[in-house]
């Protein structure tokens, strides 16, 4: 019997939501790590019982729990993230040089094949790798030192590396995104990196077409088409079909193309989902309606999905790591809100219902499909 496990990170702890393959009746476990911010938690594709968690606090810093039994028990592993060599400076909000300082882990991406190998995207933006189950971390400093690093500036949420996508056909090819530097690609497992931002246009930077400086909010990939990436930028929804060499806008008929999340249906590589947010100063959904927009054509043509979602007086946000899909058929789609709701659709977005309604503000949602 298949089932799903939804890993929810919130402002004040983590929750684990489980259901069988029907995805109707849910069990809720938590709060785990009560009172701590859980920016992200993710299970290993190679061993679903292995789950990594980013637990942090403005007072007490970064902690990294790991579970080897599917979230029943947790062990604290390594939390020492030291930049390689002389850390140097990036650009501060006012453009002045600012020392690189580790603040927190935004995203954990376990290797596709080895449960002990896991990547961490951190603030201030850098990528780290552990090959011993999270005990020790080494910076892949070729990213920060490839040349444009001193020009990277933080977005409002900080200079964060928040997206890591590993090409399932070639694990040495990895795509990452940084707010507000842009998207980058390695083809040698993280030793060397190239900015891949051609085609992005951002009016909030002096040169709207600059090589770096774009506030990319999220990237998504379908496992069968690793050359095709989808992007929710600060403003604009974009796609590339040549692994980032050139991007084109696919915002089409969206009511607003500002937003944070973007994801791809597991069974349909051209079916994608976004949650439009009104604007960068009003971080809530458009028109007081919580609507997921789905495109079955890889962008440009979008339809609102509203069944089961609040359609009046709703002013929540959906943050960049707070949407995920399962691997069942039909594909389940999940997202969490700043109001503490986690919604699930067991039918690819046609209908929605809340799994939970009253959690702390949701920072991240990941789904594991269990057999």
């Amino acid at each position: 019997m298949s089932g799903v496990r939804v890993l929810v990170g919130t402002k004040k702890g983590a929750f684990v939501l489980t259901a069988d393959g029907k995805r109707k009746d849910w069990a809720v476990s938590g709060p785990h790590f009560a009172g701590w911010e859980v920016y992200h938690m993710k299970g290993s594709p190679a061993d679903p019982n292995r789950i990594y968690v980013s637990q942090s606090s403005g007072w007490f810093g970064q902690v990294l729990p790991r579970s080897d039994d599917g979230g029943k028990t947790w062990t604290t592993v390594g939390n020492k993230f030291t930049y390689d060599g002389v850390a140097g400076t990036h650009a501060w909000y006012d453009g002045s040089p600012h020392p690189w300082e580790f603040k927190r882990v935004w995203h954990l991406e376990p290797s596709l094949g080895d449960p002990d190998t896991v990547y961490a995207g951190v603030e201030d933006a850098a990528m780290f790798r552990s090959t011993d189950g999270g005990q020790n971390w080494e910076e892949l400093s070729g990213l920060r030192k490839h040349g444009t690093g001193p020009r990277w500036q933080p977005g409002a949420g900080g200079l964060c590396l928040h997206t890591i996508l590993i090409d399932p056909t070639n694990p040495k090819r990895i795509f990452i995104a940084i707010s507000a530097a842009g998207a980058f690609r390695t083809t040698d497992g993280g030793a060397t990196w190239t900015p891949i931002n051609r085609g992005l246009h951002s009016q909030y930077i002096p040169d709207p077409n600059a090589e770096v400086g774009h506030c990319v909010h999220r990237l998504a990939m379908h496992r069968s088409r690793p050359d095709t990436l989808y992007m929710q930028k600060h403003w604009d929804v974009m796609r590339t079909d040549n692994a980032g060499d050139q991007w084109t806008e696919v915002s089409g008929n969206l009511p607003t193309d500002f937003g944070f999340v973007i994801d791809v249906n597991t069974n349909e590589p051209e079916t994608i989902y976004v949650v439009p947010i009104k604007s960068d100063s009003e971080h809530y959904v458009h028109d007081g309606k919580l609507r997921v927009f789905r495109s079955k054509t890889g962008g440009n043509e979008w339809e609102p999905l509203t069944k089961g979602l609040p359609q009046k007086d709703c002013y929540v946000n959906v943050l960049r790591d707070a949407m995920s899909v399962d691997a069942l058929d039909p594909c389940g789609v999940y997202f969490g809100t700043s109001g503490g709701q986690v919604y699930a659709s067991p039918d690819g977005g046609d209908s929605w219902s809340p799994i939970v309604r009253d959690l702390p503000a949701v920072l991240s949602v990941e789904v594991q499909t269990l057999s």
Binding site: F33, A34, G35, W36, S57, G58, W59, F60, G61, Q62, V63, T76, N79, K80, T82
Partner: protein, 98 residues
Amino acid sequence: MIRVVLPPPLRILAHTGAEITVDVPGAVTQRSVLDAVERRYPMLRGTMRDHDTQRRRPLVRFFACEEDLSGEPPDAPLPEPVAEGKEPLLVIGAIAGG
């Protein structure tokens, strides 16, 4: 034995009650007490002071005997009642944020 009172988030992390006791060999200072706490509870490494610089994290404070000792040098002796186990060293999370 030296008594140390941890703030609630660190109690959760270390799976302890409010007060712990640690054996501190030699001089009783902020550094030697924190070293002993981190030896016994390795999951607390990096939460009270920086891994590399060993500097106190900005929103962490150390109180004892009704005094704020946060600005004292890490190798300065702690007050005698703390060294004698009569009073605890309090690790405090500053009142800030949400």
